[in-house]
Symmetry: C2
Subunit: 478 residues, 2 copies
C-alpha cells in the first residue's frame, strides 16, 4: 500500500496563488477545516510550528519582565460597552453566550474578541500604589471574531494569539513599552521567521479601536500583497479612565496609569507560508521548523545503512537539533517530495557509497543546494547549513520586498504601479481621511503604515495636492 503512495500534487503559485496557499495548508497537514463554519483545526504539524513560535516569543517577553496570566474568556456586555470606541470596533464580530446550562443568562456574555476590558476591570480592583507599576502582563489564548469570509491562518473565526497588556506610571514609559514590543515583533519576524518588515505607524483609520496610536510591522508576500504582521498599541489613559483604574502616585494623589497592548497571532504561520513557500510546498525557517533535519537512508536494505543513518540522528539530536529519520518502505522520490512539502529545512542522505567515503550529503530545502560533508564534521556542517538556509530565505524575501516598493505622485500612478507590480506603493500624504478613502476607492489600496524611516518624495499629497505631512505606504493587504 505505502509503496504505491503518490507524491501529493499542489497547484502552482503562478497559476492560482490562493489555491496554492490552501493546498499547502492542507497537504502539509497544517490545518483542517472543522465542522463549525469558519473554524479551523490546528493539526499536529501546524501546532508544532505554533509551539515553537510561542516558546521563542514567550522567552523574549519574559526577558523584559513580562509575566503570563489567564483572564476569563467571557466578558459581560456591560463591561465591554464601557469604552465606546472599542465596543463599536468589535461589536459586529462578537460571539454571544446567552445560556448557561438550561437557564437564560440575565446578561449576555461576549466571547473575548480581545481582552483590554478584562485587564482593566482586574486592575481596577488590584492596583493601589505606584510601587506596583508597571504591571507587564501577557496571555496566550484563543479569541473569536465572527468574520464573514475566512481563510486558514489569515482570517478565521477563532484564532490563537498572545495579547500583551501593560500599565505604567507615566505616558513616556507606556510609549517606550509600545515601541519595545514593536521592535520585539520586528526582530522575531526578521531573525526567527526570516521575513523582513517595514516598521511604522497606522493611520487613524487603520488603528486599533480605542487606541491613541497603533504601530505595526508590515511584510510582503510572494504574490506581492501586503500582510500586517503584528501590532502594538498605545492607549494613553483612556481605558484607565473608562474603567476607573487608579493608583496612589508619588505625590500621594490618585492617578490614572497609562496603558499599552500588543498582539501577534497564528496568522504568522500564513505569513511564513506565503513569504517562503514554493511550488514544492512549505519552506520553513529552521528556528520554528518542527523537524529541522530529516535523515533519509539511501538503499536502506544494504548492510549497515540504517545503523549509519540512526547514528547521524543520534549525533544531531545530541547537538540539540530536532531530527527525524524516515526508514519507511516508501520510495526515495516520495520521501524527498514529502519532506519538501513539509518544508523541512535540511535533508541528510547517507548510503553505502557515502559510508565507504566517510561522508553524507546535505540538501537545503530553500534552494536545493547539495553539499557533501565529512562525517566527522557533521554537527558543525549541519549548523552552518541551517544558518545558510535562514540567511538565504531572508535575503530572498528581502530582495522581493526591496524590488517591490514603488514611488508614486498621484492616485492614478499608484494604481497603475500596483496593478503592474503589486507591492508597496509609497506616496506623500496630507494626513486626511478623505485621501485614504479616495485611494481605496480609486486604486483599491489601503494605507499599510507611515514608516518610521521617512523619505521626502515631494511636497504635496499624492491624493489631493495639499501640503504633505508624511510619506505613507499603500498596498493590497491580506
Amino acid at each position: 500500500m505505502a509503496k504505491d503512495k503518490k507524491v501529493e500534487q499542489i497547484t502552482d503559485m503562478e497559476v492560482d496563488f490562493a489555491q496554492w496557499y490552501t493546498d499547502i495548508c492542507r497537504k502539509a497537514e497544517l490545518v483542517e477545516y472543522a465542522s463549525v463554519k469558519g473554524f479551523t483545526i490546528l493539526r499536529p504539524y501546524g501546532y508544532a510550528i505554533w509551539e515553537n513560535m510561542q516558546r521563542i516569543m514567550d522567552g523574549e517577553f519574559k526577558k523584559t519582565g513580562h509575566v503570563n496570566v489567564a483572564m476569563p474568556v467571557l466578558i459581560p456586555e456591560s463591561l465591554l460597552k464601557k469604552e465606546g470606541e472599542l465596543v463599536q470596533g468589535f461589536a459586529p464580530e462578537v460571539a454571544w453566550v446567552t445560556h448557561g446550562g438550561s437557564e437564560e443568562l440575565e446578561e449576555r456574555l461576549a466571547f473575548r474578541p480581545t481582552s483590554e476590558t478584562m485587564f482593566c476591570d482586574h486592575w481596577s480592583r488590584v492596583l493601589h500604589s505606584y510601587r506596583e507599576l508597571p504591571m507587564l502582563y501577557n496571555q496566550w489564548c484563543s479569541v473569536i471574531r465572527w468574520e464573514k469570509t475566512t481563510r486558514p491562518f489569515l482570517r478565521s473565526r477563532e484564532f490563537w494569539w498572545q495579547e500583551g497588556h501593560t500599565i505604567h506610571e507615566t505616558a513616556e514609559e507606556a510609549r517606550a513599552e509600545t515601541e519595545q514590543q514593536l521592535n520585539c515583533y520586528a526582530d522575531f519576524f526578521e531573525k526567527v521567521l526570516a521575513i523582513p518588515v517595514v516598521r511604522g505607524r497606522k493611520t487613524d483609520k487603520e488603528k486599533f479601536a480605542g487606541a491613541e496610536a497603533t504601530y505595526t510591522v508590515e511584510c510582503l508576500m510572494k504574490d506581492h500583497k501586503a500582510l500586517q504582521g503584528a501590532t502594538s498599541h498605545y492607549f494613553g489613559d483612556k481605558f484607565s479612565r473608562a474603567y476607573d483604574v487608579t493608583f496612589t502616585g508619588r505625590d500621594n494623589k490618585l492617578q490614572y496609569p497609562f496603558q499599552t497592548s500588543w498582539g501577534s497571532t497564528t496568522r504568522m504561520i500564513g505569513a511564513v507560508i506565503m513569504a517562503h513557500g514554493d511550488n514544492n510546498g512549505l519552506v520553513l525557517p529552521p528556528a520554528i521548523a518542527p523537524i529541522q533535519v530529516i535523515v533519509l537512508p539511501v538503499a536502506q536494505h544494504k548492510p549497515g545503512v540504517l545503523e549509519a543513518a540512526n547514528a547521524l540522528v543520534e549525533r544531531l539530536t545530541a547537538a540539540g537539533l530536532r531530527v527525524k529519520i524516515d526508514d519507511s518502505d516508501n520510495s526515495m522520490g516520495w520521501k524527498c517530495a514529502q519532506y519538501e512539502m513539509k518544508g523541512v529545512p535540511l535533508r541528510v542522505e547517507i548510503g553505502p557509497r557515502d559510508m565507504e567515503n566517510g561522508q553524507c550529503v546535505l540538501v537545503r530545502r530553500n534552494d536545493g543546494e547539495k553539499t557533501v560533508v565529512a562525517l566527522d564534521t557533521l554537527e558543525s556542517a549541519v549548523a552552518q547549513q541551517l544558518q545558510l538556509v535562514h540567511d538565504g530565505m531572508f535575503e530572498k524575501a528581502k530582495k522581493n520586498l526591496d524590488e517591490h516598493v514603488f514611488a508614486a505622485s498621484s492616485i492614478e500612478e499608484a494604481k497603475e504601479l500596483q496593478e503592474k507590480n503589486g507591492g508597496f506603493i509609497k506616496t506623500m500624504w496630507c494626513g486626511d481621511l478623505q485621501c485614504e478613502l479616495d485611494m481605496k476607492e480609486k486604486a483599491g489600496m489601503s494605507s499599510r503604515c507611515i514608516p518610521f524611516e521617512q523619505e521626502k518624495l515631494g511636497e504635496v499629497c499624492a491624493c489631493c495636492g495639499k501640503p504633505a505631512k508624511h510619506m505613507i505606504y499603500w498596498g493590497v493587504a491580506y
Copy 2:
C-alpha cells in the same frame, strides 16, 4: 509607605479550613475573582505555577509520542448530541453561543465542556489506514462547565486543563494507553507535587459520561477530605461508532479504532494548597515553585551585603534554579512572612556576620529547619535542601494518607469512622449501584475508587451483606 506594610493575616486552618483555603488563594496572589460570576483570574503567581506544571507534564506526554493540537472551542449542538451518554452527562452544564455579531445562529454552539466530539469528528475525516494509528493527541486549553457553586481552582465555570485524546488499532493498545497515562499522572502527583495518591478504577456511577472505564488518582487533603487528582478513560469503540471514525485494517476491511481520553486541570493547584499549606500560607513543592529560592540580605545597608547577596543569586541562577532577591526596604519580618505566604521552598539569608564566616543560612519552608552552609558549597547545599523539602513534604502527606484509611464492615461503622477521623473508609462492596446510593444517603460519602491494590477485608458487602466483589474506598470529596 512600604515600611508600614502589615504582614497579611490568614485564618487558621483549624478554625475554618474553607476560609483558610480562600485566604491563601487571595493573599498569595494566586487567583482573583472576575466580574463574571463563577469565573476566576489566574494571576501571575498562580499562572506561573500552572506554567511549571504544564512544562513538566507536556515533556512527559511528548516522551511517549504525544503531540499537541488545537481544536475549535465551539461545538455544534447536533455534533455534541451524537453520543447519547456524553451529552446527557454534560448538557446541564453547557454554555451556549447563540449569536455571532448581530445575527442569530441557525444552530447554537456549545462552548466545549470536553472535546471528545471534536476529536472524533476530525478523525472521521482524516483517518484512513491502520498505518496512521495510533494518533496520540493532546490539547492545552480552557473549558466551561456551568457549575452552580464555585471555589477557586476546585470548581469554577471556566478552568484550564489538558485533555489527551488517542485512537488505537486494538482494544489492548487503547487499554495500555489509558493505564500508561494514569501512571503518568500518579508519577506527576508523587514526584512533582509531592502528593501521594491511591490509584484505582471509578465505579460505573462515578465514571466519565460515555466511558467504558474511568481510572483515577485520588488524594487526601489536610482536612482529610478526598480530592480526585486526574482521570484517564477507556472508551472502547463506542465514540468511533457514534461518530463514524473508521480505518482500513491490516485485513483490508473497515474497522473502528479504540479510543482513550485523559485530563488534568488547574484544580491540581488547589490540591497543592490543601495537601501542603499551613497557617503561614502556601507551601510549594520545589519542582513547580515560581521562585525556588528567595535570597534575603540581612542588614542590607551595611557595606558589601547587597553585593554578597546578589552574588548568591547569580550563582544559584547559573545552577539552573529560579531565584529572586528581595532588597526592598520592607522589614526582615515582613519579608520572611511574605515569602512564607507565597510558599517559596527555600530562604537564603546572608548578613555581615555570615560574610565574615564565609557562610549563609538556608531555611526550609516546609518545616522551618535552618542550616548554616559554607559559601563554597552553596550550589550543592541548596540542591540538597530542595530535595529535602520535597521529600519532607511527601513524607508528611504520605503519613497523613496512611493514618487516614480505615476499614469498616457496615455503613454505620463507615459513617462513624468518617465523622470521627475523615479520610478514606475502605469496605468490601458487591458492585451494586444501590449500595453506593445507600452509602451516600446514610453516611454522606461517595465512592472514590476501587483501588488497584486490593485487600480482602471480608466476604460480604458492607452495605447489603451480599457476596462482595471488590474492596472500595469511600470518602467526602471536593
